[in-house]
Amino acid sequence: MENIIEIKGLHFAYEPDEEGKEPVEVLKGIDLDIKQGEFVAVLGHNGCGKSTLAKHLNAILLPTEGTVTVDGIDTKDADKLFELRQRAGMVFQNPDNQIVSSIVEEDVAFALENLGVPYEEMRRRVDESLRAVGMYEYRMHSPSQLSGGQKQRVAIAGIIAMQPKCIILDEPTAMLDPQGRKEVLATIHRMNREQGITIVLITHYMDEAADCDRVVVMDKGKVVLDNVPEKVFSQVEKLKAIGLDVPQVTELVWELRKAGCDISPEIISEEECVAAIEKLFAD
């Protein structure tokens, strides 16, 4: 599979507010490749640099050092800025602050309007995107009548309409209730499965990461773990040390192993846990 995102030696420092102060380095040398069609979770606590990393993927921020290439486009290439942003769409945390229009379907059309897509084509893509996220019936509603989860789905539809190859979601569920979280996660998993869109999900909820193909854990501006969820979560001590959770079942298994039980550390789902405990008692 081809790499859609290639990050090489990425360093980023914010310019200091006052003169004479040292710049604050947020990203300290990141190398990361993401394959077309992958579903990657980037996990880390607040301030670890994960949102800053996300902002590099569609040129909201540019590297101080190193390169970021998305679908063959260097993010520093100003001439291809719109092309880049079409291919790698971004969804943010606060559902209210990314909806521009007072009518759902017009918001979904916003990017297409900016790109000058002709009407017939725009109409078709807006309707398709709204159907894809299950918000077609709400197309004439005002965003203020929608729940948080529905607003996030509208935001996702607005990105899908650009027909991107990759969607970057920066803590899209942090402000939602459990129902809304489920809706949004189900939607992005479906986009990944059915349309083959690469997903980069920035989050601090470990349960969201447990369902992904790959988990990248960040701490202090660096990638500290990068593997399939089972392998990442089995590092319970390491994750706890950097202020992250592991699924309860993984923690239980880890505790049991510490007490000398013979049980696999790579358990992240309930079914696996049930089976393992049964086995423990069957022996």
Binding site: R85, N97, V100, E105, E113, N114
Partner: protein, 267 residues
């Protein structure tokens, strides 16, 4: 509660008036205003009133809603009427007391003016009652688009308007929340002396401003991510298409205008 306030006075519906092209509606309203001010006698006014009530009937919006739009302006109406009544000195004197006197001309001018303003309010309300604010903004943008040639920022103004409309409900909800939060900390907002209330207003305004700026910042980034770069080369999802009914409505309005002008000259 603040939440109960309805913003914009749009009454969704599907009447012929609702369905008219908003650009035509704006032009028709302008002609209507000219019509009201070009007739100088009661007959002209009656024709204007007939036009107004005809349109209101077609819109299927209850007449009492229009009374609601006139009501807030009543004090203004009464004051201007009284001033006109007392300051007009020509014509036959009907009533006199010390230096105050009411003349026939005064009475006529006041009455005429009041009816004219009431009709004006009712007619323009019909425009906002039957057109959603966002459609209205859009129509204004398109009507003014020729001004782009002289570098007038038509698109930018319309974008600002529509973002404002989009965020009004959000900010109202937010104000409600902040008010409750400060009340929970003992701030007196609807009770207490004027001075305490004014002081406590700061505890609501500061968070509200900070949040509005944060929202603006985040929205700007989100818009950039969706390739926003001003009005250049933009296409639109909302298509305004004029239908035969729009031209008929416009023709009828122009006929009324001509009628009023002719009647004004003849009578």
């Amino acid at each position: 509660m603040l939440k109960d306030i309805t913003i914009g006075q749009y009454f969704p519906g599907n009447s012929i008036i609702h369905r008219l092209d908003p650009r035509f509606k704006i032009v028709i309203t302008l002609i209507y205003i000219i019509m009201l001010f070009s007739g100088g006698n009661y007959i002209c006014l009656a024709v204007g009133a007939a036009f107004t009530f005809g349109a209101i009937l077609l819109s299927r919006i209850p007449v009492k809603m229009f009374w609601k739009s006139v009501k807030p302006l009543l004090p203004f109406l009464v004051i201007t009427a009284v001033l006109n009544l007392l300051l007009m000195s020509s014509g036959e004197v009907l009533w006199k007391w010390k230096f105050l006197r009411i003349t026939e001309d005064g009475l006529n001018t006041s009455l005429f003016m009041v009816i004219r303003i009431v009709l004006l309010i009712m007619g323009t309300s019909l425009l906002t009652y039957t057109t959603s604010p966002i459609t209205l903004t859009d129509a204004i943008e398109r009507l003014l688009s020729p001004l782009r040639k002289v570098k007038f920022p038509v698109h930018e103004l319309a974008m600002m308007m529509s973002i404002a409309l989009r965020f009004i409900p959000t900010l109202i909800e937010e104000t409600d929340k902040i008010m409750s939060a400060q009340k929970a900390r003992g701030a007196e907002i609807d009770t207490g002396s004027f001075a305490t209330r004014a002081k406590n207003l700061i505890s609501i305004l500061v968070p509200l401003f900070i949040s509005a700026f944060r929202r603006a910042d985040e929205l700007a980034t989100a818009m950039e991510c969706r390739c926003y770069h001003g009005g250049e080369g933009r296409t639109r999802l909302r298509q305004l298409k004029s239908a035969p009914r729009d031209y008929i409505a416009l023709a009828v309005t122009v006929l009324f205008l001509v009628g009023v002008i002719v009647l004004g000259k003849l009578v």
